[in-house]
């Protein structure tokens, strides 16, 4: 047994030998356009489109909160170039140093810009389960980024947290308390939200998709539970992970909840009717297509995730 595993392990290590090609200079973008959606809360709204050479991973909504003492960054964009453009945007707003980089979950469009924002004295915070799952996916995501962006991915790195949140944690950035909440498996296994207590602004990461097809990468049932709990929170302003909306809180959660409800209901029906995974993927939830952008890119994957979760009920 052991001898054979020796081979296995050496093989696995060989696979990790892939290293990002170095030498290119990351693209130098202009400062990202940010909007102050609530006092001290600055949001850059990413583009709702697949990763491309044109957008360099500027897909997620990212931004920062300015305290009296320092700045907390919330998500960093999908490449080093986007993170660096966010840094320029911060410098146009304030001279205060960045003291926290908060990563709402382990998806590449949210964390790959972090390398441009971290440095000595900057604390990096994630959900406690981020570390376990990024260990499994980080190398894969980096390789895919280089496959899709080539030299334009230069500088992008998987970051490790310096501290983690397992339940709830508050941080102080000077006259402002931010409450970080770690959630059970929902959009992903490691979703973290940030609430700016002073303005009642909730940064949801990808627990809230607007227009962009919601993505299930943790648990569809967990996602619905978490949406129920979020809906009970008192929130004055909100920042979705993708898209923007004028709907009031918590009404803005409804389209996403309806989409997930349809998936759960129709997947359960497919299972009850002895449909295979392939048959379910070709039939479940298609009525929802008109409501969402990037539907073809994400929906079939969502049904696969839901089916492989619900088939064990």
């Amino acid at each position: 047994m052991l001898g054979t595993f020796g081979y296995l392990v050496s093989l696995a290590l060989a696979a990790f030998v892939w290293v990002a090609p170095a030498g290119a200079t990351p693209p130098d973008l202009d400062a990202l356009k940010v909007e102050e959606i609530a006092p001290g809360n600055y949001v850059h709204f990413g583009r709702i489109e697949p990763l491309s050479h044109a957008n360099l991973g500027d897909q997620a909504n990212i931004g920062f909160i300015v305290g009296d003492r320092c700045v907390a960054v919330i998500d960093t964009g999908g490449s080093y170039a986007v993170g660096a453009a966010l840094r320029k945007a911060i410098r146009q707003v304030t001279d205060k140093p960045v003291c926290y980089v908060i990563i709402t979950h382990f998806h590449p469009d949210h964390f790959f810009g972090a390398a441009a924002l971290v440095g000595p004295g900057v604390r990096i915070i994630t959900h406690t389960d981020y570390r376990r799952w990024i260990a499994e996916r980080g190398r894969f995501y980096l390789k895919a980024l280089h496959r899709d962006l080539g030299d334009l991915a230069e500088g992008s790195e998987v970051v490790e947290p310096t501290e983690v949140v397992s339940d709830r944690k508050t941080i102080d950035i000077g006259g402002r308390t931010l409450t970080l909440q770690a959630w059970p498996a929902a959009h992903t296994t490691n979703d973290l939200t940030v609430l700016d207590e002073r303005t009642g602004t909730l940064w949801l990461g990808d627990l809230l998709f607007v227009d962009h097809t919601p993505v299930i990468d943790g648990s569809v049932l967990g996602f619905l539970d978490v949406l129920g709990r979020l809906g009970e929170m008192r929130v004055a302003h909100y920042v979705p992970g993708h898209g923007r909306s004028e709907l009031p809180w918590p009404k803005v959660l409804e389209p996403e909840r309806d989409y997930l409800d349809v998936i759960v209901r129709e997947t359960r029906a497919a299972l009850k009717n002895r449909k295979t995974l392939e048959q379910a993927v070709d039939s479940v939830g298609l009525s929802q297509r008109a409501n969402w952008v990037n539907f073809d890119e994400f929906h079939r994957r969502n049904v696969t995730e839901a089916y492989t979760e619900l088939e064990w009920e």
Binding site: L8, A12, A14, P50, A135, E136, E297, T308
Partner: protein, 279 residues
């Protein structure tokens, strides 16, 4: 044994391929299966100089060309010949060229299998060719290949929620039909609750070996129905669907072994006129 013979050589093959470094350029377009940079080494290590014939009359492999989820891509392998005592597919090798451990599984069939057919779900670490190679009872080899573009966007081959320890090894048999008829082949799905961890998960947990299912064996009425040696290119919660032909009331019996040397059993008695589980 996959690990002791072909497995070990195959793994070495992949090692060589990966360390010699393969350029990431021009991987967006669908390549020619004959010109894959990975295949010659894997082929040499697994099959040596043996000739491999075009499998179009012997074996087909089907995958969704728009694989929805790199973590679970359904694949089905279908033998195109009747399994007779004189002429039958003995083994099917399933290979995902660009996975860290390219040999996803080796499955064994007999003349009693009726048809050599198997469906499972695969993980993809990259855009890759999938190859199914049928080895006949006389040793002839036939191959079918498919190019699969899984793994775009946030889609990734692993990293889903943890399965509670007490549920690992739980199994189910599921049928697409509500009833069976004696003498007629029927499809059955074996589902196994198991993390089927890749070596990447091991990295973080610090375990000595990744924990994955390494062998599956199903008998009906004491006779072999399906067996195979598999690895972590198979998705978490491994699933296998295959035919068997019940001639009378009997017990479907599954035995599954993982790399922690745990052995799991599951049994189901089936007979004509009694509803089958699955709906």
């Amino acid at each position: 044994m996959l690990w002791k013979s072909t497995g070990a050589r195959l793994l070495m093959a992949a090692f060589l391929v990966l360390v010699t470094g393969v350029s990431l350029a021009n991987e967006m377009a669908e390549p020619d299966p004959a010109k894959s940079q990975y295949w010659p080494t894997i082929r040499q290590m697994m099959f040596g100089d043996r000739e491999i014939l075009d499998g179009k009359d012997v074996i087909h492999v089907y995958l969704s060309t728009r694989a929805a989820d790199a973590a679970s891509v359904p694949v089905s392998i279908k033998g195109q010949i009747d399994q007779t005592p004189d002429h039958y597919i003995k083994n099917i090798y399933l290979i995902v060229e660009r996975n860290p451990s390219p040999a996803a599984g080796i499955f064994h069939f007999t003349p009693e299998s009726g048809r050599a057919q198997l469906e499972t779900r695969l993980r993809f670490e990259d855009y890759s060719f999938v190859r199914a190679i049928a080895e006949m009872n006389d040793g002839t080899l036939y191959m079918a290949s498919r190019w699969v573009k899984a793994a775009g966007g946030c889609s990734a081959p692993g990293g889903r929620f943890r399965i509670p320890e007490n549920l690992i090894g739980q199994m189910k048999f599921k049928f697409m039909d509500a009833m069976l008829e004696y003498g007629k082949p029927i499809l059955v799905q074996l589902m196994i609750r198991h993390p089927n961890e890749s070596a990447l998960a091991m990295d973080f947990d610090g375990d000595k070996v990744p924990r994955f299912v390494r062998s599956v064996k199903v008998t009906y009425d004491g006779k072999l129905v399906m067996s195979g040696e598999v690895d972590f290119s198979i998705s978490d919660n491994p699933s296998f669907r295959f035919f068997f032909r019940p001639e009378k009331e009997g017990v479907l019996d599954a035995v599954v072994e993982d790399t922690y040397d745990r052995v799991y059993h599951h049994r189901l008695t089936v007979s004509e006129g009694v509803p089958l589980p699955g709906g």
